[in-house]
């Protein structure tokens, strides 16, 4: 197979399109780069969706944590403590075990059977765990950012008569984002890195469809040579991290656009 044919056969193998059987002999560099690259689709999928949904949930939890009402604050604090305080590896494992305990034939809710078999699949179960995990870390970052908003800004807003929801939307929310953005960038990078743990801990690979690390492991095991496959994944992730950093830097510049140029924080 030429390299172009290999790319056509395996470029989307990780989501089930292309050649069904993985290469079993005569491994070429092209095969490794293509298949590991196709696995990256899963990492990006997990990262983007977990980060996207997690962002909104994190803001909600951060607000709950700053709320004077105990009924909102305590559950938020416990949620953040549990998901920040335990390793993701263990969270994946426990989630997989817990989701397996759901009845296989579905749950009967008011006469309608809700299917549950899909929850233990990686694309759902692992995504849910990653979503909760990143929300907890991001909630802590946003909560800290909320606390760091300069007192003067809030008092000036009240002096102008801007209160309640308007104060939040026009003063607290933009400032919270701006102050928390560097730490949130770090959290996003960690999240994308953490997506490699999915198929490593608890969640099985279905039909040999896995992420970049899964295919790297496949090649490392088959060629008995870890020094080709793993550096390939490493390079892919360095590139992914650079792209992510660049995107977050764009947002950072927009968030800081109103500040005088000499105190705008660098990305």
């Amino acid at each position: 197979m030429t390299c172009w044919e290999t790319v056509q056969a395996y470029a989307f193998r990780s989501i089930g399109f292309g050649e069904n059987l993985l290469p079993r002999s005569d491994f070429t560099l092209c095969q490794q780069i293509t298949l590991i690259g196709s696995g990256l689709i899963w990492n990006v999928y997990f990262g983007v969706l977990a980060l996207g949904f997690g962002f909104f949930f994190a803001v909600a939890v951060a607000l709950a944590k700053s709320s004077p009402r105990r009924l909102l604050r305590k559950p938020a604090e416990w949620f953040v403590f549990i998901f920040r305080g335990s390793p993701l590896f263990i969270q994946f494992f426990l989630a997989y075990e817990a989701l397996q305990l759901l009845p296989k034939t579905g749950i009967n809710l008011f006469g309608i059977t809700v299917e549950t078999a899909w929850t233990t699949r990686a694309w759902a179960g692992a995504l849910f765990v990653l979503f909760l995990n990143t929300s907890a870390y991001a909630a802590e970052i946003f909560h800290g950012a909320l606390k760091s908003i300069p007192k003067g800004d809030l008092e000036a807003a009240e002096a102008y008569g801007i209160t309640g929801w308007h104060k939040f939307r026009r003063i607290q929310w933009p400032t919270m984002l701006r102050l928390g953005w560097p730490a949130y960038t770090n959290e996003a990078i960690f999240l994308f890195h953490a997506t490699t743990l999915v198929f490593f801990s608890g969640f099985p690979a279905f039909r040999q469809m896995g992420d970049a690390l899964y295919y790297a492991k496949y090649f490392a095991d088959k060629t008995f040579n870890p020094f080709v496959a793993y550096p390939i994944v490493a390079v892919y992730f360095i590139l992914l991290t650079l792209v992510l950093t660049w995107l977050f830097a764009l947002v950072n510049r927009r968030l800081n656009r109103h500040l005088p140029s000499n105190i705008r924080s660098s990305a």
Binding site: R84, S86, I90, H193, T196
Partner: protein
């Protein structure tokens, strides 16, 4: 351990539980907690030292050194730690043995032959006939070094930011007083940098704790290794057969990590309070308000 446990197949109930939880493998499981704590105790200062070196190098005016420092932080941070652990340890092990072979072997042939790595027996670290404890200590040492390297890169990033956050006015005043570059660094920059570094470093400590489950990848028999080993279903071939109990073992690990995190949070809050004392930061302001 106890006489009642001599014949495990004949006991039941609470005695069985007691004997089971004190079997040889379980004792190793309990000791592995000490291994993890020891690893953390050694890695944290090592990572801090590497981060300090990296940050200082990144701030240097000597371009190659600055590129080295920035490159170290960027590349190691860009790679997920699990991938780093998967190939770096073997590479490090082979690298060290190669260096030793240059020193102690009589004939210096290129050790990398095809997929094999061959050096004369004197160059193996530890030596083939060394007792098991040396092999375990070496594996542990490699793990500490690799962890320190990875987290050192993150620490370098945090310390670089912290060094840049120290108000320029402080440094300029020091220079105005006639302090040399080294004196400014040692007496003004570094002591003041800690208060800015602490939030990032405490976050890093939390992440380091959470990264310890990956120790089993480095060949160290850590708590996750034992939880999986002990929890898996055991047939009658074993002395204490039992069904799949991994869920319970992992819940125990969860509790351990939560307790450890809570303790760390308390200690770090105290350190933060001490460092923020008298500083013109929001944290310092909060302390003053709380005292009033």
């Amino acid at each position: 351990m106890f006489e009642a446990c001599a014949d495990p197949k004949s006991i039941e109930g609470l005695t069985w539980a007691m004997c089971y939880l004190t079997s040889g493998k379980h004792i190793e499981f309990y000791w592995s907690f000490v291994t993890v704590l020891l690893l953390l105790a050694l890695t944290a200062p090592a990572a801090l030292a590497m981060g300090f070196a990296g940050a200082t190098a990144a701030r240097s005016r000597f371009i190659p050194l600055s590129l080295l420092g920035k490159g170290y932080a960027a590349i190691v941070r860009g790679v997920p730690d699990i991938i780093f652990f998967l190939f770096f340890v073997i590479a490090l092990d082979q690298g060290l043995e190669y260096l030793k072979s240059l020193a102690v072997c009589e004939n210096h042939s290129w050790p990398w032959q095809g997929l094999e790595f061959r050096v004369c027996p004197e160059a193996k670290i530890p030596l083939g006939r060394s007792s098991a404890i040396w092999h375990q200590a070496y594996g542990f040492g490699l793990a500490v070094f690799t962890f320190a390297l990875v987290f050192g890169a993150f620490a370098a990033n945090v310390l670089y930011g912290a060094m840049n956050a120290v108000p320029r006015a402080q440094l300029e005043t020091a220079e105005a007083y006639g302090m040399s570059h080294g004196q400014v660094f040692r007496r003004i920059l570094v002591p003041q940098m800690w208060v800015y570094a602490l939030p990032g470093l405490s976050n890093l400590w939390m992440i380091l704790i959470k990264a310890t489950p990956l120790l089993f990848l480095l060949g160290v028999r850590d708590i996750v290794y034992w939880a999986r080993e002990l929890g898996g279903m055991k047939t009658q071939a074993y002395e204490y057969p039992h069904p799949d109990w991994r869920l319970w073992y992992f819940l125990a690990l969860l509790v351990f990590y939560l307790v450890f995190t809570k303790l760390s949070e308390i200690v770090l809050a105290r350190i933060s309070a001490r460092l923020n004392h008298g500083q013109a930061t929001a944290g310092g302001e909060a302390l003053r308000k709380a005292a009033a």
